[in-house]
């Protein structure tokens, strides 16, 4: 069977112990897009993940989410936040039951602000699609990915949760 031509792994982390955040640094600028795949559980609660780029903790992020919780649909929005959400309120304590796939388009372009399009889901909590914006023209070279957007020690994702960043070539 033929092999494909893209989806190059840049970095991957499997948590050895419960943790709130994962950082991917020194992201090369040689791809067109990035894809981040997270498969996780958490020690308690029901959180999603948020991202800060290049260490920017300013209020330069915004986004919109559509949600379905199994009984109703909703939409929500935030502006001038200090991080961008790639999933919201979807975690559970079942390891592997929550999945997030986030696409960062034209992440290395130095003329445009950066957008992220993601979908996340857990069959017991929520399925959702999110769009986010980072108002900065810098190429993305670092991501701090934090459960619940806390960027502190809690809440925590379970040991065994996986985080992989892929590069997507344009040709």
């Amino acid at each position: 069977m033929a092999s494909g031509a893209t989806y190059t792994p840049i970095a991957t982390t499997t948590l050895g112990s419960a943790a709130n955040s994962v950082t991917f640094s020194s992201i090369p600028s040689t791809y067109q897009d990035l894809v981040l795949v997270i498969n996780y559980g958490q020690t308690s609660g029901a959180n999603g993940f948020s991202v800060q780029f290049n260490g920017d903790t300013g209020t330069n992020y915004s986004g919109t989410t559509i949600n379905g919780n199994g009984s109703s649909a909703s939409s929500s929005r935030y502006t001038s936040a200090n991080c961008v959400d790639i999933a919201e309120n979807l975690g559970s304590t079942t390891l592997g039951a929550s999945t997030i796939i986030a696409h960062f388009m034209n992440y290395a372009n130095t003329s445009t602000y950066k957008t992220v399009l993601s979908r996340g889901g857990n069959a017991a909590t929520v399925t959702q699609a999110l769009v986010g914006l980072w108002r900065n023209t810098s190429a993305i070279n670092q991501m701090i990915i934090s459960l619940g957007g806390a960027f502190t020690s809690t809440p925590t994702a379970l040991a065994g949760s996986t985080f992989t960043l892929y590069g997507i070539a344009s040709a």
Partner: protein, 182 residues
């Protein structure tokens, strides 16, 4: 720089006789995640615009659950929880015999850590647009789905089971890819 790690593992294009199901068997256990892309239409014939198919792992008919978020032709957005349907996971709709000719659904499934001993999560994004005029459950729709197979076995086979005794029509396609994280 790491090497590209998206591998095409299997493909099926339905022939002229149609097929009530499609199965990918003996899935190699050397990848991290699975990616599936489906373009499908079936021959179900009734007073609606859409039929559907289910997703099943390892021939097992139990322990599936899901939440879907659907926008349909009536301008309504709705969310529904489901258990086992058609011996698997409900995956949103597809055009059928009475739908506009030559229209096919498009669905993408992502299954992370399919060889692990954890329960298996599925993320799906699907569209079934056919210029139909029926609203609600019987019309075209756009669907996001989160599903779980509460089983710790590695996924070794994947089946797509058409619903209501119908069959996928000719030119329906099913592609399976493996993705390595290193």
């Amino acid at each position: 720089m790491a090497n590209p790690t998206l591998f095409q593992l299997a493909t099926t294009t339905v022939g002229a006789g149609g097929a009530s199901s499609v199965t990918f068997s003996n899935i190699p256990q050397v990848y991290t995640d699975l990616l599936i892309k489906v373009s499908a239409r079936d021959n179900f014939n009734s007073g609606q615009n859409e039929n559907w198919f289910s997703l099943q792992f390892n021939g097992v008919t139990t322990s599936y659950s899901s939440i879907e978020l659907t926008g349909n032709a009536g301008g309504t957005v709705a969310s529904v929880s489901r258990g086992v349907l058609n011996s698997g996971i409900y995956t949103g709709d597809e055009p059928m015999a009475t739908s506009t000719a030559n229209t096919f659904s498009n669905k993408e499934f992502y299954i992370p850590n399919y060889t692990s001993s954890n329960y298996k999560s599925v993320s799906m994004d699907a569209v079934s647009e056919n210029n139909g005029t029926l609203s609600g459950a019987n019309g075209p729709k756009n669907t996001l789905l989160a599903a779980l197979w509460s089983n710790t076995a590695p996924i070794t086979s994947i089946s797509f089971l058409d619903a209501n005794g119908s069959s996928f029509v000719q030119y329906s396609t099913f592609y399976l890819y493996g993705i390595k994280n290193s």
